[in-house]
């Protein structure tokens, strides 16, 4: 593992970290493939879970699910460690780096000083790679950053041991056994099937049903209440946050489907990729309409936004029904 670590810019932190780690270990895999094999795409609207006063809305699977999915699909072994004390976590990271290991970390976003000020919120499930240390600085390849950065020991410790929801507890991980370079067709099809299945779950909180559930609550929102405009901003922020291109990870998953067509031995996936790009564009149109209302360029009209979401729910339901049939 003495070869220099190669930083590659990614849209999403977890898929980027996993892809870059596996590459370093000789498995040529891009971010979209890692995201797809990890079954990264999802939708969840949990109005009863409040984070910073807002309901939980996610366009992707919960933290660490991508690592788990990739592990399962490729048979790659990851060693995952957590620590009960800062000192133990710091010592272990240093020891691994001194052995030449490249290590993935779970951290808080807020306490990373190299993050742009306005992007620093208390989100505890960020992922990044540490590939070395110099003096009191760690050398960091944060996949959502364009270039590698440095971070002081005290700052990284704080970010690794931030408390609260999804507390990272110093979590670090690295692959220990990377099997062959080929990705089995069956693994790809199963990963797609899993995502399609969850997007079609008959519940008003997950998948297409979750989008409908969100549309219903939004449609009933009182436009006179400022808090509801905050909810609209929150929906878009979750859809957009860090590199999804405004489409809530739909573009990233489309890139995976396109790439998967050949290895999965299912040429139809390329057409599905195009269809999902169109759905992503519709999400962008929704985001734009919503942002104009937040900025009060357009009057706040909850039913109009709800209509957008109902249409998206229907489009995704149709899409994933067909996709599920194609890989079954």
């Amino acid at each position: 593992m003495s070869a220099a670590f190669q930083h590659r810019h990614a849209a999403h932190c977890e898929s980027g970290t996993v892809a870059n780690l596996l590459n370093h270990h000789g498995l040529p895999i891009g971010e979209p493939m890692a995201f797809g094999l990890g079954g990264g795409l999802s939708f969840a609207y949990l109005p009863f879970v409040r984070i910073q006063e807002m309901p939980l809305i996610a366009y992707r699977v919960p933290p660490r699910a991508i690592i788990r999915g990739v592990r399962k699909s490729l048979g790659v072994h990851f060693r995952i460690e957590r620590f009960s004390s800062v000192a133990a976590g710091e010592a272990r990271l240093d020891a691994l780096l001194d052995q030449g290991q490249v290590v993935g970390l779970q951290t808080s976003v807020y306490w990373l000083p190299y993050f742009p000020e306005d992007m620093r919120f208390h989100f505890n499930a960020h992922n990044l790679v540490v590939y070395g240390r110099e003096g009191d600085d760690y050398l960091i390849s944060d996949p959502v950053g364009e270039h590698p950065v440095r971070c002081h020991r005290d700052d990284l410790n704080r970010a690794r041991f931030a408390k609260g929801m999804l507390a990272p507890k110093g979590t670090l991980y690295f692959p220990t056994g990377v099997p062959g370079r080929d990705i089995p067709p069956k693994a790809i099809r199963q990963a797609i099937h899993r995502v399609a299945w969850s997007m079609l779950a008959p519940l008003p909180v997950f998948g297409a049903g979750g989008i409908r559930g969100l549309a219903r609550s939004l449609g009933k929102a009182d436009p006179a209440k400022p808090d509801n405009l905050r909810l609209v901003g929150h929906i878009v922020r979750m859809q957009e946050e860090i590199g999804t291109g405004g489409a809530g990870f739909r573009f990233l998953y489309a890139a995976f489907l396109q790439e998967a067509a050949q290895p999965a031995e299912c040429p139809a996936l390329a057409e599905f990729a195009d269809r999902l790009m169109d759905i992503g564009d519709a999400w962008r149109a929704f985001a734009l309409a919503a942002a104009r209302m937040v900025k009060v360029r357009d009057p706040f009209d909850p039913p109009a936004l709800a209509e957008h979401l109902f249409a998206l729910a229907a489009a995704e339901k149709g899409f994933f029904t067909a996709l599920k049939a194609a890989v079954s």
Partner: protein
């Protein structure tokens, strides 16, 4: 989205950074493209930032008026609500709320003050003041 349509709005919220987004390239292949940001995203990010700034400024006014303690200001200045802050420092919410009362805050033990300060990433002396 096609590669040439990837927004390059130069968001202030990205602080000069660019991010990778996936878009359709010339040959139809979906590739990662560098984006300098999208205005829609800037609007909603600033909205979220502004909420905490407004809370912090309201808290500052209360502290100046003697109605609250600097603890409340610093909590919002660190973009935390009371639930997040309670989890970060491991103190019950009602206890934190009680420590927002200036008279109670003035009597806080150095130990608890240190614990609050650590969760907020500031020095204990700073916690007693407003910036």
């Amino acid at each position: 989205m096609d590669a040439q349509d990837v927004p390059q709005d130069g968001n202030a919220t990205l602080g000069g950074h660019r991010k990778a987004v996936y878009a359709r390239g010339a040959g139809g292949a979906i590739v990662a493209v560098e984006s300098a940001g999208w205005e829609a995203e800037e609007i909603v990010t600033l909205q979220a930032v502004d909420v905490f700034d407004a809370y912090a400024e309201a808290a500052r006014a209360r502290v100046v008026a003697g109605l609250s303690s600097p603890l409340e200001y610093w909590m919002y200045a660190r973009r935390m609500d009371i639930a997040t802050f309670a989890q970060s420092c491991g103190v019950w919410r009602w206890r934190i709320r009680r420590h927002f009362r200036p008279a109670v805050f003035a009597r806080l033990s150095p130990k608890l003050l240190k614990r609050y300060a650590a969760a907020l990433g500031i020095a204990p002396e700073t916690l007693r003041t407003l910036p």
